[in-house]
């Protein structure tokens, strides 16, 4: 059986100031259905670029991306919009719409995919309840804390009942406590709805807390991938080694309760 998300030999080169910059240099990646898969890498490693290639916010140069049997890179424009309705994305900076209330923010993805108004109302209130924002539906994002903003971000990503979510540094702008709450929420939606999550981060704790399997992105390539536990205990790549060392230094009892180890 083939994996749910299957990336093969993905390449992407940028040309800032005319000079070629190879950001993705032959990425191979398999993510199974229903798992939370972690991708770790240093700043500038190309994590966001990889994420953006998957929903085609960025155009890959070559390679293939298959998601649930759909060949992403060969979709037509219309098909791509439909496909995007079925996948959510969560951002480090939340990227909420300040002009809309929390309710309108969560309703937006439903509106643009043509869901009838009555159903929108119901789905928004259900989702708001799930992420714990029922009280805040009338507020504007400007009045929310970082953690609450990210809850809106998550609600907005799952309100369309997607099969797949990309989380690009969803917790990197949050304090440790809020981080744990948000990670718990991600785990909850993963277990409750079986949503597959690709969790991109540079925080190893977040990966250890949430993921079972992970990959290390370094120099435009996946330098190692496998069980989180194995990579931390026996790293083979520079990045993996460094992260493992950092982990030893900062091992905190709070996180050792997690599933990673």
């Amino acid at each position: 059986m083939s994996a749910y998300l299957q990336i093969k030999d993905l390449h992407k080169t940028f040309y800032p100031h005319g000079q070629p910059l190879k950001v993705l240099d032959g990425i191979d990646l398999d993510v199974e259905k229903g798992e939370i898969f972690g991708i770790i890498g240093f700043s500038g490693a190309g994590k966001s670029t990889l994420a953006c290639c998957i929903n085609r916010l960025e155009k890959a140069d070559s390679g293939t991306i298959e998601l649930g049997g759909t060949d992403i890179l060969s979709l037509s424009k219309d098909q791509l919009l439909k496909q995007r309705h079925k996948m959510g994305m969560i951002f480090q900076n939340f990227n909420l719409f300040d002009s809309m209330t929390v309710y309108q923010n969560i309703a937006y993805p439903l509106e643009i995919s043509g869901v009838p108004p009555k159903e929108i109302k119901q789905r928004v209130s259900e989702t708001a309840e799930l992420v714990g924002l029922t009280e805040k539906l009338k507020a504007h994002p400007g009045a929310l804390s970082g953690g609450q903003k990210q809850r809106v971000g998550i609600a907005r990503a799952i309100v369309t009942k997607p099969d797949f979510i990309i989380s690009d540094e969803a917790t990197s702008a949050l304090d440790p406590q809020t981080t744990i709450q948000i990670l718990d929420l991600l785990k909850e939606i993963n277990q409750k709805y079986g949503i597959t999550i690709l969790m991109i981060t540079h925080e190893l704790d977040a990966i250890r807390y949430t993921c079972n399997r992970m990959a290390v992105l370094e120099g435009g390539k996946i330098t190692e991938s496998g069980l989180v536990r194995d990579i931390f205990e026996n790293p083979h790549s520079k990045t993996g080694e460094l992260f493992a060392k950092v982990f030893m230094l900062f091992q905190s009892p709070e996180f050792t309760k997690g599933e990673g180890i």
Partner: protein, 236 residues
């Protein structure tokens, strides 16, 4: 009363007299009418052209390099024309539309034509201020470009768009005064005819007060509205 034979103080007192002001209400109405209609035309065309500039930008929603470069060049050309010359250039256009090349309506065409390129640039720069992440998020959710423009781009930048419009309306107002020289009527007409040609400085003074008050009023309203919106969004 003229500054040539009376003191500044006497002219000032005379400029407040009801005698002078009773002849000014009509011109004030004309000025307001010209400003309002010109601003409205400027708003519609400026927003549309500004949006086109923003989305055809190389980093925009629909990059169109050739069209962006050409329209940018054309707008710069139009903007480099002094307003006076724009008015003269618009005379045949006004004649085509209204059958005559002078009067209030004819000048409205000239004023709008002169201010649209400027306002389009201001709209473009307001739209460019949007956090790119918001556009990215809207795209990741599968928004069509038209929903991104109408539901994200414009509402998110509304306070900045309003501030830009305020500045532009004030430019329109100052142009109506200039257009007064070309038979547009209004405050500018009074200032030129009485203040300049007949040395009736008391009337000139009155015209200045009116323009100052109008500018303050427009700026005040613009500031208030954009602040209200920011406050309702908890952004200030």
């Amino acid at each position: 009363m003229s500054l040539l034979d009376s003191s500044f103080w006497e002219v000032f007192l005379a400029s407040l007299s009801p005698e002078i002001w009773k002849d000014l209400w009509g011109p004030i109405g004309e000025t307001l009418y010209m400003t309002a209609i010109s601003s409205l035309i400027m708003l519609v065309f400026g927003i549309v052209i500004g949006i086109l500039l923003d989305i055809t930008n190389p980093n925009g929603l629909i990059p169109l390099k050739v069209s962006y470069t050409l329209s940018g060049w054309l707008i710069n050309c139009l903007r480099s024309l002094p307003q006076m010359i724009m008015i003269i250039l618009m005379i045949p256009v006004a004649r085509l539309i209204f059958g005559k090349s002078y009067g209030t309506n004819a000048c409205i065409i000239a004023i709008a034509a002169s201010c649209i390129p400027m306002y389009a640039r201001i709209v473009e720069s307001s739209l460019l201020e949007i956090d790119k992440g918001k556009i990215e998020a809207a795209q990741a959710m599968g928004s069509k470009n038209i929903s991104i423009i109408l539901k994200v781009l414009l509402p998110e930048t509304l306070p900045s768009l309003i501030r830009g419009f305020t500045v532009s309306v004030i430019t329109v107002l100052s142009m109506t005064a200039l257009a007064g020289m070309f038979g547009a009527g209004g405050i500018g007409d009074i200032a030129v005819r009485y203040g300049y040609q007949r040395f009736q400085h008391d009337r000139l003074f009155a015209c200045v007060y009116i323009l100052v008050i109008l500018v303050q009023l427009i700026q005040g309203i613009g500031n208030l509205v954009s602040k209200r919106i920011l406050k309702s969004r908890n952004l200030i």
